[in-house]
């Protein structure tokens, strides 16, 4: 039965490697084929980046609130 297990091991590892090797190939092909989609997306992506930037700005604004409060406090003290 152990020898049979060895057969299972070779068959199994063979299929696992075959599967993932095929997948590597497929990913490489799809990366090339889909490149122009990706390029098109990048343009849109930059728009999204702008959005994110806006969000960051909102985050900054919270910092600004803190700054504003500090400023007002400073004012109040002075």
């Amino acid at each position: 039965m152990i020898v049979e297990g060895l057969g299972l091991m070779f068959a199994g590892m063979g299929v696992v490697f075959a599967f993932l090797t095929l997948l590597v190939g497929a990913m490489k092909v799809s990366a090339k084929v889909l490149k122009r989609f990706a390029d098109a997306e990048t343009t849109r992506g930059s728009l999204e980046t702008t959005k994110t930037a806006v969000l960051h700005q909102v985050g900054d604004e919270l910092t600004e609130i803190a700054v504003a409060i500090a400023a007002v406090k400073a004012c109040a003290r002075s």
């Binding site: 039965m1 020898v3 299972l8 070779f10 068959a11 063979g14 075959a18 090797t21």
Partner: protein, 453 residues
């Protein structure tokens, strides 16, 4: 062996090549091993590895268990034995391959074109899984088959979806303007003309044989209501369920393309420009009483429709009563989401090639389209008729929303109305016939269940 070594040398520096070589080596060794062990194979393993007697046992078994083999065998069958082909349009292997493409197409339509993605992505994926050769995922023992048996054969999933739809629907616009309910009735005309169309096809075209039940299930596509269609098809014509569900959801997604030309064809410029007066406020207690009232009428008139109408109204009562928010939110969110995933996959399991790749599917797709068109026209025409007889005019465009397809149809009405008069917002007015259409198609389903079930 020499060849793999040479290959390795030549492509050295590229790990992929080495791995490929290893792989060939592995498989080769596997063959040798299996061959070596075939003679003293112990009895206990002989049943699990029955092919291991031949020298190439394990590899052959492995090859036979690949999908590639199944497709190829199917392909071979295409050219060889024509005589077993009588009851089947195309051999199974090729059919499954085609259906996998169809599944991918549905997913593509859902993602890229926005065709009802919540349903068509699970249906498409379920369709792919159902057509995987060898695995029999959609068979009675496969997990899709089990989900189908548990949720659709029993009618449970469509009913739970309907409950969730009820918990998301506001019947206020209908209550504020009751007579728009009649438009939701008229639009069900498409259901019954399609039913007759299906019977006609069945009579005149040789390859198509719809029973009365089949015709009823096909007709319900014209109701433009997914769960109702799945519920009825699951009861009357399970074999056609896949095609009917795909047709229903596809045409619901195509509403913005199908409806406007028909709406414009049957109305004049003046009619499309009619401005409707603002709606009255609907009190909370009216909204609570409404679902119970609908249920009461349903019980009196058509008990066979109570599962559908009842669950819709149960969901709505949960929403409107205001004291069980945690239940109504769960019904309208988590529960409907979970059931949608499982329902979609299970419906997809009915896209198995041997059921779907039939001439009848083509008939269903065409009839479904006709049903939509007739339903739209009927709604618009009844609205025009009502205008003739009443002093308080309604914009006939809102009749088109009677086909259900909530809220897409109402939005389309609004769009066509705004096109004519940029300040004429018909959305809320169109919601009345729209939600009435949901009730109307559930009632029609009840009639069909009562008379053909």
């Amino acid at each position: 062996m020499t060849r793999t070594l040479r290959l390795t040398k030549k492509l050295s520096g590229k790990p992929l090549a080495i791995v490929a070589a290893l792989l060939v080596l592995c498989l080769f060794c596997g063959v040798s091993m299996a061959g070596a062990t075939s003679a003293p194979a112990p009895a206990s393993a002989s049943d699990t590895l029955d092919a291991s007697d031949a020298p190439t046992g394990k590899v052959e078994k492995l090859w036979k268990s690949t999908g590639l083999n199944a497709f190829v065998e199917g392909g071979k069958a295409l050219f060889s034995d024509k005589k077993s082909d009588d009851h089947q349009l195309i051999p199974l292997g090729i059919g499954q391959f085609i259906m996998i493409i169809v599944g991918c197409l549905l997913i593509w339509l859902a993602i890229k074109k926005g065709f009802e993605p919540l349903l068509l992505i699970p249906i498409g994926f379920g369709g792919i899984l159902a057509n995987v050769p060898v695995a029999a995922i959609a068979g009675p023992e496969g997990f899709l088959g089990l989900i189908y048996g548990f949720g659709i054969q029993t009618g449970l999933f469509p009913l739970l979806i309907f409950m969730g739809v009820g918990a998301m629907t506001d019947f206020g616009p209908l209550i504020a303007n009751p007579k728009t309910a009649l438009l939701g009735a008229a639009a069900q005309f498409g259901i019954f003309t399609t039913l007759i169309g299906a019977l006609a096809l069945s009579q005149f075209i040789p390859g198509i044989n719809f029973s009365l039940q089949d015709a009823a299930a096909i007709g319900i596509i014209g109701g433009a209501d997914g769960p109702t269609a799945i519920f009825l098809a699951g009861k009357l014509a399970p074999d056609l369920l896949g095609a009917i569900a795909v047709a229903a959801y596809s045409y619901m997604a195509l509403v913005p393309i199908i409806q406007p030309p028909i709406m414009k064809f049957f109305t004049t410029k003046e009619e499309r420009g009619i401005v409707m007066k603002q709606m009255r406020h609907v009190s909370k207690v009216e909204k609570i009483v409404f679902p119970l009232m609908v249920l009461g009428i349903c019980i009196l008139l058509l008990p066979d429709a109570t599962p559908l109408i009842g669950m819709l109204m149960f969901g709505n009562l949960l929403k409107e009563c205001g004291v069980v928010e945690r239940l109504s939110k769960t019904a309208a969110n988590e529960l409907i989401n979970i059931v949608t995933i499982l329902l979609g996959l299970a419906v997809g399991s009915k896209l198995a090639a041997e059921k779907f790749l039939q001439l009848e599917t083509l008939g269903i797709l065409i009839l479904g389209l006709v049903a939509f068109c007739i339903g739209t026209a009927a709604g618009v025409l009844l609205a025009k008729l009502m205008n003739r007889l009443s002093t308080e005019k309604i914009n006939p465009l809102i009749g088109a929303a009677g086909v259900s397809a909530v809220p897409m149809a109402a939005r389309v009405v609004n769009g066509v109305g705004v096109e004519e008069n940029p300040h004429n917002f018909l959305l809320m007015h169109a919601m009345g016939p729209n939600v009435a259409g949901v009730i109307g198609s559930a009632v029609a389903a009840g009639v069909l269940l009562a008379l053909c079930g």
